[in-house]
Subunit: 186 residues, 2 copies
């Protein structure tokens, strides 16, 4: 899904607005397994995924990676707090497949927010959508058994779940990869 089409699904931008907004994004091809943000860096860019996918994760003290979120086609990908509050990121962000993204800097994003009331509205809508998704995951993690969490995953990211290594999914769901493997078996 390309950026303009996505924007139109949420807000009725005029062709001129759409043109201007799009011009602030830069289309980029990013190979698989590219690090976009590292821990402690301040996130400079927000990415809209036209094709491919990514994930955010962090490193525990023992060195284990823990997937925090998956980002699929038609979503914005970033280390949210770092990008919007220009604070050091707790997370790493990486692509998991060769991807086509539209990137935009924090400065340009703020510019668009102040230039277009509609853009601000889009920001609010996207934030709330993300918020409700995170809340859903929280509920899954907090109250469900490992098997139920896996079912939640299949519902939330049906396409992603078989495209990425088992270990990424297991840590995303707050379980070990051995446990996930046993669950999958049946």
């Amino acid at each position: 899904m390309n950026l303009s089409d996505f924007l139109l699904t949420l807000i009725p931008f005029t062709p001129a607005e759409l043109q201007d907004i799009s011009s602030h994004f830069k289309k980029e091809n990013i190979p698989k397994n590219t690090l976009l943000i590292e821990h402690r860096q301040i996130s400079k860019k927000l990415y809209f995924i036209e094709k491919g996918m990514g994930r955010s994760y962090y490193l525990k003290e023992d060195g284990k990676e823990v997937t925090q979120w998956f980002f699929g086609v038609g979503k914005f990908m970033s280390s949210v707090d770092s990008f919007f509050q220009q604070s050091p990121s707790l997370y790493f962000l990486e692509t998991l497949e060769d991807s086509i993204v539209y990137s935009i800097s924090n400065e340009r994003m703020d510019l668009l927010f102040s230039k277009y009331h509609k853009m601000e509205q889009l920001g609010r809508l996207v934030s709330i959508e993300m918020l409700t998704k995170v809340v859903n995951k929280l509920n899954a993690i907090q109250f469900q058994t490992a098997r139920e969490r896996y079912d939640y995953m299949l519902a939330e990211f049906p396409d992603i779940s078989y495209r990425v290594p088992l270990g990424h999914i297991a840590s995303y769901l707050g379980m070990t990869q051995e446990t996930l493997s046993r669950i999958r078996r049946g």
Copy 2:
């Protein structure tokens, strides 16, 4: 903290704007343990808490209440998805103390959003703040031991943690009240 003061901490509204915006909110006194939203209802109002506190929770199939979030002074309280997307609420919302709140309907909120670009911006900032808080909780729940989660709670809601029943806190942290009791002991 009253509403106008709070609004000014985020956005430099003019006195006239502040006056107009405030006029759409209604100040209400709500007694302790009042249900503001029930499961399956569509949330009609958003509340800003001037004094007191509340929580959202839901009922598991076995009838147990699970606290989903605590709302303290100077925060907006609602069943987010239900209010903003006018969908049936998954949660119950209740006051835990006698409270003074400013309430506003979904229609009036939308009106303010479209009338004031600044208000839309406020909505975005508040959403993102909430999003980062929920993400923090998610991390606590997903990767930390029961004891560490309790420490997270003390940091996030220092004042709240000794004002509400143990059971509310335990379920908020994804553990049983027996476990929390044992942790507190030492």
